[in-house]
């Protein structure tokens, strides 16, 4: 990409969301529908609610739980994925369990979670981790078994130790796909943060959104959704940076595919 295209891209990256926001503003300006308040009201509520009154009381605890759950999911997903990816037998044995658990809707999981891990923060972390782990696990497995045969054989021939094989060959080779899983998981984590706060909560963004919804405080609800979107955007930005560093080789090796 030339420098000019780059500038154009950055311009568009800013302009398109701004345009869409403007569109929302205009379209909702005269809205009388109860559930679709004007963007102006939402933004006013947003300012009153989130800047910065509830940051300490709701945003921070929510994010703490979310990161804890996400982190557990990453560790379990990547480690489990590498191991399952390497052993066909393990994969076969685990398949029915994994696929079964993966299909359980998180709200249906809540009773069990309450029973086993209680009603505190750990229950929410459990629920977040439980759902986020699957995209990471699947992508890691698929990344590992999709590693080019010649690369596999190369490690084999040079008698690379199991540890190196795992950490220095399989992990980087699968990393583009692992990142795809991470990106899916991180937005799931935000979603699950909300779902996990459906019960046994006294604070949190999800708690706020659901309470607002239940008490028909619709602009407040939208302001919470807006905040979730912003958080998602920021988290994604962090990921883009991480990826830029970690997958530099991949971008290079795949360079012309994007031109």
């Amino acid at each position: 990409m030339t420098r000019r295209q780059n500038i154009l891209a950055i311009g568009l990256e800013i302009a398109v969301p701004v345009l869409l926001l403007a569109l929302w503003w205009v379209l909702s300006a005269n809205s009388k529908t109860f559930y679709f308040p004007p963007l102006k009201d939402i933004l006013t509520t947003f300012k009153d609610t989130w800047l910065f009154k509830r940051v300490g009381s709701d945003v921070v605890p929510s994010l703490e739980r979310m990161f804890a759950g996400f982190f557990i999911a990453v560790v379990l997903g990547v480690v489990g994925g590498l191991l399952l990816g390497l052993s066909r037998r393990a994969r076969r044995a685990a398949a029915p369990i994994v696929e079964f658990l993966r299909a359980i809707p998180p709200p249906a999981l809540l009773p069990f979670a309450i029973l086993v891990v209680g009603v505190g923060a750990s229950m929410k972390i459990f629920v977040i981790a439980f759902v986020c782990v699957w995209p990471i696990l699947l992508n890691t497995i698929d990344g590992v078994i999709g590693v080019a045969p010649t690369l596999r054989e190369t490690t084999h021939v040079y008698g690379i130790s199991n540890r190196d094989r795992l950490l220095r060959v399989m992990l980087p080779a699968a990393s583009p796909q692992i990142f795809a899983g991470l990106r899916t998981a991180v937005s799931l984590a935000l979603i699950l943060m909300v779902i996990s706060e459906m019960v046994a909560s006294t604070n949190g963004i999800g708690y706020f959104v659901l309470q607002s919804q239940r008490t028909f405080a619709i602009p407040e609800m939208w302001s919470g959704i807006l905040l979730l979107g912003i958080l998602g955007y920021v988290l994604n930005g962090i990921f883009v940076l991480l990826e830029k560093r970690l997958l530099r080789w991949h971008r290079g090796a795949r360079a012309s595919a994007l031109s």
Binding site: A148, T150, L151, E153, T154, H156, V157, Y158, G159, I160, S161, D164, R168, V169, P172, A173, S175, W249, H250, G252, A253, A255
Partner: protein, 261 residues
């Protein structure tokens, strides 16, 4: 030291089966340089993969020091025909070459020395910190060679390792391998399409037939041990051997295509 016995390899099963190797047997002695030649698709790569324990033979076996090989032996290195796919794209040239050395308990300086001298010997010291995908085909192939050399194997299997380098570099690399063999007593099995090269390098040449593949001929090369790109190739014996191999390969030529049973 390395013995191939009634080796047979079939890919796939039942009606999809492809017989890559029919029945191959030969022996490689310590410190010998064996060249393998044969028509395209006759099973040379398959043979090397079986010899290195990467592929399990359908029947027959490969023995190293009388032990059946069932996985890559420690002291063996293989340079793949698909060199560009055997380099790790997330590692720089230096890291690629150094990677197999992690297994050996070498001092940091020693490993670094090995890597740099291997890379220098293939004339790539200018690109140590570049990534494989920033290199030309021939350069990538040389990285793969450097990696095998730095590993200091006792047995070196090479699958058309000089296919993508220019004539001059090729000659240099040929002499490099001869040198390595002499200096460190390495045993080499070398697949090539270049008949001149096989005669120039080998102590012995294994000529394979078309598929179903067997050994067409085992040819001893009685050229003086000290080889020279100009002088050796001017020897009448060189010309004779070369013509012989050429004819030997041709003899079975009018056969049918690899049978797709």
């Amino acid at each position: 030291m390395l013995r191939v016995e009634h080796l047979k390899k079939t890919y796939g099963e039942d009606d999809q089966a492809v017989e890559a190797i029919g029945d191959i047997g030969f022996e490689v002695n310590e410190n010998e340089f064996v060249c393998v030649v044969g028509p395209s698709g006759c099973g040379k790569t398959t043979l090397l993969k079986c010899m290195s324990g990467l592929l399990e033979p359908t029947s027959g076996e490969v023995r190293l020091h009388d032990q059946v090989i069932d996985g890559p032996p420690e002291k063996m290195a293989l340079v793949f025909q698909e060199y560009s796919r055997s380099l790790f794209p997330w590692m720089s040239v230096r890291q690629n070459v150094a990677f197999p050395l992690r297994r050996k308990s070498l001092g940091k300086d020693e490993a670094k020395g090995l890597v740099e001298s291997a890379v220098r010997s293939v004339d790539l010291d200018g690109v140590l910190d570049r990534f494989p995908w920033e290199l030309s085909g021939g350069m990538q192939q040389r990285v793969a060679i450097a990696r095998a050399l730095a590993y200091q194997p006792e047995i070196l299997l090479m699958d058309e390792p000089f296919a993508s380098v220019d004539a001059q570099t090729r000659a240099d690399l040929e002499d490099l391998i001869l040198n390595v063999r002499k200096e460190y007593g390495v045993t080499v099995v070398f697949v090539t399409h270049d008949i001149d090269e096989s005669v120039y390098l080998g102590n012995r040449i294994v000529v394979l037939t078309k598929s179903p593949t067997t050994v067409q001929e085992l040819l001893d090369v009685n050229l003086p041990d000290e080889r020279d790109q100009v002088e050796t190739k001017e020897l009448p014996e060189f010309a004779r051997l070369r013509a012989h191999v050429y004819r030997s390969i041709k003899r079975k030529q009018p056969e049918a295509e690899p049978s797709t049973t």
